[in-house]
């Protein structure tokens, strides 16, 4: 594990060990907020920031923490970081904070964050932990955005609706109406739509993996880029 190159760590986080599609962690926020791209992106970025900060902090203190108290210390740190991020979002992205509501504080309970702290950051140096947190977070955020896009197009017939909540008034024009006069498809917005959508995305990832396994030389770096799209 310790011999992995940064590229391999990144490939893991973005694709081959993706939090949402392979580890199937953090399902509660993943399924709950992905009813639109903007909601998914908002929560994805908050989770990404939490993962990076917690990984770096845990890695920085990994040599002074005794094994028997490491879990409570990790939980304390993660809870403090998430609370700070929640207050900051309330101050600077007030409306988005209102929409995401309870799911921002609930980032604390996202298993992937404690999981990365325990499985990776507590055994690796700060640089590698940073890359791991960044790519794991990006992989998770990409999953949220993809699922959000699927559900928003199917459920509401739009894309990037309410972007102004994140990017200011100028972004109002970003909203794409995919189907004009769309009546809405409730199943996509409801929780079952999230499960079905996630299932389809996981299936798609597995199909791509199988195709690549049959192809002569899969390049890990290309895989990373693919997942980041």
């Amino acid at each position: 594990m310790a011999d992995k190159t940064l590229g391999q760590i990144a490939g893991d986080g973005l694709w081959s060990n993706n939090v949402a599609f392979v580890q199937i962690l953090g399902l509660c926020p993943l399924l709950a907020v992905t009813s639109s791209v903007v909601n998914g992106l908002g929560l994805g970025l908050a989770t990404l920031l939490t993962l990076v900060l917690s990984n770096v902090t845990v890695s920085a203190i990994r040599n002074i923490i005794r094994p028997d108290i490491r879990i409570p210390v990790f939980v304390l740190l993660i809870a403090a970081i998430v609370t700070a991020i929640e207050l900051a979002m309330n101050a600077w992205f007030h409306e988005l904070h209102t929409i995401l509501g309870i799911f921002i504080p609930l980032i604390v309970t996202n298993c992937s964050i404690l999981g990365r702290a325990e499985a990776f950051a507590s055994k690796n140096n700060i640089g590698r932990s940073f890359v791991d947190g960044l790519t794991m977070g990006l992989g998770f955020a990409a999953a949220l955005v993809l699922l959000g896009a699927m559900r928003e197009v199917l459920g509401s017939g739009t894309l990037f609706a309410q972007s102004h909540l994140m990017f200011g008034e100028a972004a109002r024009a970003l909203t794409v109406t995919v189907f004009a006069d769309y009546k809405g498809f409730l199943l996509a917005i409801l929780p079952p739509g999230a499960f079905i959508g996630l299932g389809l995305l996981i299936a798609l990832k597995n199909v791509i993996d199988q195709r690549r396994a049959r192809a002569p030389q899969p390049a890990p770096a290309a895989a990373g880029e693919l997942a980041a799209e």
Binding site: A32, V33, S35, S36, N39, I64, I65, R66, D68, I69, P72, V73, L76, L77, A79, A80, I81, T83, A84, L87, A88, N90, A91, W92, H94, E95, T98, I99, G101, I102, G155, Q162, G184, L186, I189, L190
Partner: protein
């Protein structure tokens, strides 16, 4: 485990508890004013969306009293009343109220009532309803809540102050009936409250120490709101 090791572990744990608390306290101190300002800005914006600024010449945020009526305003906590006046004559007021029977707990409302008892408008100021379903009560999502404007206790008649599913005139949402039902009920109750206390509400001096408007008897019709069902 030797005592020394245990003490060291405890000390380390304590140290990180202090560090974590310090981080939260620091962030809180640095965001508190901004968050309060955001909330005040939102309030002013909401007030002006309901009571146009040109209709009054006072500052409704300052001309504020607190009232409490757990039956009609939906909460045991004091609620705010913002009065709008022109040349000292009452024009309208906006009061906060709670729909305690939302799908996920309380729905906070801002209800503006013209002096003649018609609704100037209603806005949802806070809720925990399901994203994509119950949150269609937000004006940012749909126009539903605008349907209250111009209504009063005479329009429609009190027994029609319900969602269509319950035999009333107000639309519910596909997949979410509990939320609009709660809002419709809370708005009707606020109108009843206004009817009972109209003169007192405009009469009290601003910021008087929470004048205790006596709670009226529960009106005969309509479901009583029980605090027990606020946490579903």
């Amino acid at each position: 485990m030797p005592l020394k090791k245990m003490l060291l572990s405890a000390a380390l744990l304590g140290l990180f508890a202090v560090l974590g608390t310090a981080l939260v306290a620091f962030t809180y101190e640095n965001t508190r004013e901004r968050i309060a300002q955001n909330e005040r800005d939102n309030l002013l914006q909401s007030l002006h969306a309901l009571i146009p600024p040109e209709l009054h010449d006072n500052d409704p945020v300052a001309d504020r009293i607190e009232v409490s009526d757990s039956a009609l305003l939906g909460s045991r906590m004091p609620q705010q009343v913002y009065r709008a006046r022109k040349d000292g004559t009452p024009v309208a007021l906006a009061l906060t109220a709670v729909a305690p029977d939302g799908y996920s707990g309380d729905i906070n409302l801002l209800i503006a009532i013209n002096h003649d008892g018609t609704l100037a408008g209603v806005r949802v100021t806070g809720h925990h309803e399901t994203p994509g379903l119950g949150d269609r009560i937000e004006v940012a999502r749909t126009d539903w809540v605008l349907g209250f404007s111009g209504r009063s206790l005479a329009n429609p008649a009190p027994e029609k102050w319900k969602v269509k599913k319950d035999g009333g005139v107000f639309d519910q949402f596909t997949g979410a009936t509990v939320t609009p039902r709660a809002v419709v009920g809370a708005v009707r109750n606020a109108l009843l409250y206004y009817q009972e206390h109209q003169e007192q509400l405009f009469g009290y001096a601003p910021d008087a120490a929470a004048p205790a408007v006596p709670a009226p008897e529960q009106p005969g019709e309509g479901k009583p709101m029980t605090p027990e069902n606020t946490h579903g």
